[in-house]
């Protein structure tokens, strides 16, 4: 029955996304958070176009300098040298730094949460409204 499948898939997505949000929040609470500053714009040539990828320099809480190369590149560059962004990494692992922004930490989880709610409503709606179709 397709509506049972939709309901179960929705509930499964809700469970996964809520657990992921809790895990991410625990990660943010226990992590080390520092400020990164764009030190250079790396040039990448793709299909004849030059894309600019920002490289962030940051100082760990143990006063060591590290670099974080952003996963995004664009043309024209969306970043300028000197721009700042908060970075986050697990305690003692600055080489695993990533942006401390909603998009990088939570966006896909919230997308799954929204999808889970939509599927749950569709599946649950069938069982709630079935009475009106049978009378």
């Amino acid at each position: 029955m397709i509506y049972i499948a939709l309901l179960l898939a929705g509930i499964l997505l809700l469970i996964i996304s809520v657990n992921s949000i809790r895990a991410k929040i625990a990660f943010v609470k226990n992590s080390e958070r520092v400020e990164g500053r764009v030190s250079e714009l790396k040039e990448n040539v793709q299909d004849g176009d030059t894309l600019y990828q920002p490289v962030f320099e940051f100082t760990s809480i143990h006063h060591e300098k590290f670099l974080y190369v952003h996963h995004e590149s664009s043309a024209p560059s969306s970043w300028s040298v000197g721009d700042r962004m908060p970075l986050i990494y697990p305690p003692g692992k600055p080489e695993e730094a990533r942006p401390m922004t909603y998009f990088w930490l939570f966006n896909w989880i919230i997308l799954l949460l929204g999808l889970g709610m939509a599927l749950t409503i569709t599946g649950l709606g069938y069982f709630l409204l079935l009475g009106y179709l049978n009378t």
Binding site: Y3, F106, I110, M117, I121
Partner: protein, 146 residues
Amino acid sequence: MFLMKFNPIFSLIAGCILLAVSLYKLKDTLEFLEKSDRAPGVVTRLEELSGGDTGTSYSPVFKIKTKDNQEFTYFHTSSTNPPSWDIGEQAMFVYDPRDPNSARMLTYFGVFSWTIVFMGFGVFLMTMAIGQYLLENYLQKRPLNS
């Protein structure tokens, strides 16, 4: 990077509008079901629809006989290839006795399709907006270590 530029205010407003429309449609449909009659319909022919790349698809045409022995035709809106219906197959329909053209197939999606689509999409957009607002605020309140 469409999702990066997702505006939570726009998303919240669009979600609220869709949810309001879906609740209005739900009330409208429940009222329609209360005052409507039900009658079986029989597939009398399969209409061939020629589509560009997908080739020919088939849409069932039902003959519905009302309580007072009036007959009317219902053209199903979806078409498939191969056809999902055979000639002679039956389905139950619901219609306003004063307006048989209002007939809808008596299935969950046949009756509540737009209500479900609007509600599901509205709740999806509202979840995205509220989630983004709450979690962005949460991140802004976490102080940096250096």
